[in-house]
């Protein structure tokens, strides 16, 4: 990944994480604020309910007291005090009175506790009021919760008891208002909140007993756990209710037990607070965060691209310059963009290239001198070897003429042969040097490489078959359908012949000589392998150096000539070798000279000669 991309990624990530962090913090703070607001609203609603409850209680007390002091009640009490146990005249009294005083429940109960008249259950006349066993104690108390048994079930109500004491026998007035959907509808609730009432029947949970201001609560079963818990534990509980898969339908439910005079839970008030506003706000924040984040990332990409370009352009110029230097162009210089660290780096780079150039000049001078010295050394060495026998032979002729004239003729004849041989040797040495200095430019033509390889093989086949020592097996692996390459067949023939000669020399005890051709993309690969002793990495490193040779008799120019030929064809030559495992020369020639290839890679010692 490029430095610029890394820089872009870092910038984008930084912006994204920043936006995400801000969104999360805002969301967290919003949730906390909503929950706090929700708690406050719930507390306010509970307080309001308690006030409404107390207001209703006071209202019930007030109405029951009004009935107690009414003329009808007084007449009824008087009649009962006169000893009349006949309640037939009062059967329908309670109903209209309750209606006129807006009470849902009203009963007149005589001093023994028998119902004289009942608005909610007219048929209960003469029956004892069992739900309030101690009526006298309730006559001075405020209103209280009571479950009233009706013919069609039971109802929860807010009741008050007062006594009409006209004579010795009091007449009790038990009145109440039903806690039902109308009561819930009377509660002023903030938007998003609702109140529900569960009437505890003392039995298992029943969905029909859970109502809100519109009637029976839908999906009431989902609240059964909460209601049963509050019934069992008797204290307020809050829970989060998931009504559907949509989180906006979630509701925070606060359950409050409603106790009767004996502190037994008769009902449960449930205050539901919708989480829709919070969820919608959260969604808006998330949308805004996504929008801002997306825009921020886009902006970050643009800005960072610009910034990265400003930062990386000098570095890229430096990298390009470095590549140019690596390619050998030591005259490369970069522009110093600024006086910062990058400017210092560019200045240092320029100084480095200048020094490298100077060092190269010095090295060339040194190498030139060394080359001349080596040439002189080699010439001296090469020339010294035949000169010494020449000298000895001439000295031997002189001595023979002086001391053994009779043998001079024979010695002369033998010495002449030696002299001629050594002179011929000198001529060969001189010819090789001359040949190296006169390497011709290749005359390119379309050449079938397999033909060239087969020609070399044929040239040496007879020699290998008649060779003294171990036999060398020829192995030709030529790829069929190989496309022709642009090459000089004579030069390639000479180069391959050199490699084959080297391979033969490397296998004095015999072995296998492999010649292989293969197409590889735009290249043609030619391999010359032997199963000889192999080379060390150091030997491989110096193998193509002119005048270097590992053989006892050699000028060290053979592989240098091969490398020169291959290089002139735009190709490369490499050697792969390990000691004891033979050597393999690999030549890669472009099929088209217009396209040059990089040197091949190797799993062992690979050497690519410098051009």
């Amino acid at each position: 990944m490029s430095f610029r991309r890394k820089l872009l990624l870092v910038f984008a990530l930084t912006v994204f994480l920043s936006v995400a962090a801000v969104a999360w913090i805002v969301s967290f703070v919003t949730r906390r604020a909503f929950e706090r607001s929700n708690e406050e609203q719930t507390a306010a609603l509970v307080s309001q309910f308690q006030r409404e409850f107390q207001r209703h209680a006071d209202e019930v007390v007030h109405r029951v007291e009004a009935i107690t002091h009414s003329e009808t009640t007084t007449h009824m009490a008087l009649a009962l005090n006169r000893g009349s146990r006949e309640s037939s005249g009062y059967l329908n009294e309670a109903g209209p009175i309750a209606e006129s005083h807006q009470l849902d429940f009203l009963e007149f109960v005589d001093s023994p506790g028998l119902i004289v008249s009942s608005a909610q259950s007219p048929a209960r006349f003469g029956y004892p009021e069992n739900s309030l066993p101690n009526l006298p104690s309730l006559t001075s108390k405020s209103a209280f919760l009571k479950r009233e048994e009706l013919s069609d079930g039971s109802a929860l109500g807010l009741f008050a008891v007062r006594a009409a004491r006209v004579g010795e026998q009091p007449l009790y007035v038990v009145g109440g208002q039903r806690l039902d959907r109308n009561f819930l509808a009377g509660l002023e609730l903030p938007a998003g909140m609702r109140a529900m009432l569960y009437q505890s029947a003392g039995t298992a949970f029943s969905p029909q007993l859970l109502i809100d201001d519109s009637g029976t609560v839908k999906q009431a079963d989902k609240l059964s756990g909460l209601i049963v818990q509050v019934e069992r534990e008797g204290h307020e509980t809050t829970t989060l209710m998931h009504w559907s898969d949509n989180p906006a339908d979630d509701e925070t439910i606060h359950a409050i037990p409603l106790n009767g005079p004996d502190d037994k839970a008769l009902g449960i008030l449930l205050i539901g607070s919708s989480r829709r506003p919070y969820v919608e706000l959260k969604r808006r924040i998330q949308s805004a965060a996504l929008l801002v984040g997306g825009a921020g990332i886009l902006l970050a990409i643009l800005l960072s691209s610009w910034a990265a370009a400003r930062v990386t352009r000098p570095i890229e110029q430096l990298a390009e310059a470095a590549r140019s230097v690596a390619a050998g162009n030591l005259h490369t210089e970069v522009e110093i963009p600024s006086k910062d660290e990058v400017g210092d780096l560019a200045d240092a780079f320029n100084r480095m290239t200048r020094e490298l150039l100077e060092q190269k000049e010095r090295l060339i001078q040194t190498e030139r001198v060394a080359a001349w010295r080596e040439l002189a050394r080699r010439l001296a060495h090469e020339l010294k070897n035949p000169l010494f026998p020449l000298q000895l032979t001439v000295e031997n002729l002189i001595r023979a003429r002086e001391h053994s004239p009779e043998m001079f003729e024979e010695i002369f004849r033998e010495s002449s042969v030696t002299l001629l041989a050594e002179i011929n040797n000198l001529k060969q040495i001189i010819a090789r040097f001359s040949e190296f200095s006169k390497m011709p430019q290749p005359q390119l033509q379309r050449v079938q490489m397999n033909d060239v390889v087969q020609g070399v093989a044929r040239l040496f086949q007879a020699q290998l078959e008649s060779r003294n020592g171990g036999a060398i097996v020829y192995q030709l692996e030529l790829e069929e359908g190989l496309e022709p390459v642009d090459a000089d067949p004579e030069l390639l023939h000479r180069a391959l012949s050199n490699l084959v000669l080297n391979a033969v020399d490397a296998m004095p005890q015999g072995g296998t000589l492999t010649l292989r051709t293969k197409a590889d993309l735009d290249l043609v690969r030619i391999e010359v392998g032997d199963t000889g002793a192999g080379l060390t990495p150091e030997e491989c490193e110096r193998l193509f150096t002119p005048y270097y040779t590992s053989k006892q008799h050699g000028t060290g120019l053979g592989l240098a000539i091969v490398q020169s030929v291959i290089s002139d064809h735009g190709g490369t030559i490499g050697v792969r070798s390990q000691p004891g495992r033979g050597t393999r020369f690999v030549i890669e020639l472009p099929r088209n000279l217009d396209r040059l290839r990089t040197p091949i890679q190797n799993d062992s010692a690979v050497v690519t000669p410098r051009r």
């Binding site: 007219p122 048929a123 006349f125």
Partner: protein
């Protein structure tokens, strides 16, 4: 001219006596206004889809005569039939018709018209018309045929094109089904023209509205609900009450399914505190009863127990290990039915019986008013048996047989009689010569309207 004191006194006395005589003497004319709860959609006396109530019978009798009538003593009296003979075996009856009787549309009453009318009302009868008589043949002996013929549903009607006309003292002047019926007196009525010119009957009025209209002088006759009789009387209103003409009972929807169910029904019957309901809910009107027929009809109704016996009720209940929960239906149009039903449910609960009141039609048992079909005990009992699809009582004139038949019906435990109830009306003060039989039958042909006080 000056009159002396004695002369003045004499003149005044004469004037007063003349005025008083005028008030006591029946006067022709005026319209009687009647209000009723029933809302008839048909005036056909034989239309059994209409409710069989005392009020309907009375309205029917204004328009349609029967061959015979039944007097206050339960004796059959001639009406359209002047005489009749019954063949031995009480299967073949021949009725001789009055001459000169005409329907309200002017057509004469003929034996064919009578026979056609009776065939519509009683398809199972074999009715044939003679020259001046009508013969009815029954498949079995029927000594109470005349009692049956005296029922309003056997009023002689001429049916043509959806209209029905009768030979009664009043004819239909205007008819708005279920709302209002206006009757006009028939000038040529064979029994003599009624004093009233017309009768206007407002239908579908609640008893409360009727009393209000009575107070406002908009009606002359208003029905009084049983529980309101005492109050209306106490308020100084003129209230007329019949003998017991309907029995309020619990009627089970199906026959007994098992002995255990029989014990539960017995426990329910024993648990009911009839006396409390009568004294409080019915305001002391009516009689607690364990009989179907009122005592004035059968003479033995008092022998059936009516007292609450909770102890025995609980015993019976406890003998049934798994008692079902019953539903008790009641007529929502009946003002006291709800309270009585709920009271019965409370009583039943005291005995350990689960009984829930309901307004649904498919209740296990219903609180029902069974109207006495006839002052004839046999006809009345047979009608009840038919309505409950129970075996009909034997045809006998023996009281013992009647008692056994009624007891047999009660032993089926299809119904639990609770109260024998009368029917009551409040009359405006100007209604004169009001006459009513024990079974609540009116005789409006004798009524006339005086001046309002």
């Amino acid at each position: 001219m000056r009159l002396s004191g004695w002369q003045s006194l004499a003149v005044s006395s004469l004037l007063l006596s003349a005025f008083a005589t005028a008030e006591l003497r029946p006067q022709y004319g005026r319209t009687l206004h009647v209000a009723t709860r029933i809302a008839l959609s048909s005036l056909d006396p034989a239309d059994d889809s209409q409710p069989d109530t005392v009020a309907r019978r009375n309205l029917t009798r204004l328009m349609f005569d029967t061959l015979v009538t039944m007097d206050s003593q339960g004796r059959v009296q001639p009406s359209l039939a002047t005489s009749w003979q019954v063949a031995p075996g009480n299967q073949r009856w021949q009725f001789h018709l009055q001459r000169g009787v005409r329907f309200q549309d002017g057509s004469p009453l003929t034996p064919e018209a009578v026979a056609a009318s009776l065939r519509v009302a009683n398809p199972e009868w074999n009715v044939s018309a003679g020259a001046e008589s009508v013969t009815i043949e029954r498949q079995a002996h029927d000594p109470d045929l005349t009692a049956e013929l005296s029922r309003a549903r056997n009023g002689i009607a001429k049916r043509s094109g959806g209209n029905v006309t009768g030979t009664g003292p009043f004819g239909v002047a205007d008819w708005q089904p279920a709302k209002k019926l206006t009757l006009s007196a028939q000038e040529g009525y064979w029994g003599g023209r009624a004093f009233l010119d017309a009768i206007e009957i407002e239908m579908g009025k609640s008893t409360r509205d009727q009393l209000i209209e009575l107070e406002l002088g908009k009606t002359d006759i208003a029905e009084v609900a049983t529980e309101q009789v005492q109050r209306v009387s106490a308020a100084g209103r003129r209230v007329v009450t019949s003998a017991s003409v309907e029995v309020m009972a619990l009627v089970f929807a199906r026959d007994l399914q098992s002995p255990d169910e029989g014990k539960l029904r017995e426990a329910l019957a024993l648990s009911i505190d009839r006396e409390s309901i009568r004294s409080v809910v019915l305001q002391g009107v009516g009689e607690p009863s364990g009989a179907i027929l009122p005592n004035w009809v059968s003479g033995y109704a008092f022998v059936y127990p009516v007292a609450q016996n909770l102890e025995r009720a609980r015993q019976e209940r406890n003998e049934v290990p798994h008692a079902p929960s019953w539903t008790l239906g009641y007529d929502t149009g009946d003002p006291v039915a709800r309270v009585i039903a709920e009271r019965i449910a409370l009583n039943a609960r005291d005995a350990g019986i689960a009984l829930q009141t309901t307004t649904a039609a498919n209740a296990d048992l219903r609180l029902t008013r069974l109207v006495l079909a006839s002052a004839d005990a046999y006809v009345a009992l047979r009608t009840v048996a038919r309505s409950l699809e129970l075996p009909e009582p034997r045809l006998s004139n023996s009281v013992e047989d009647l008692y056994q038949d009624e007891t047999a019906i009660l032993q089926t435990q299809r119904l639990v009689p609770l109260f024998q109830l009368p029917t009551s009306y409040a009359l405006s003060p100007n209604v004169q010569d009001w006459n009513q039989d024990r079974d609540g039958t009116w005789h409006l042909e004798d009524v006339w309207l005086g001046n309002k006080p």
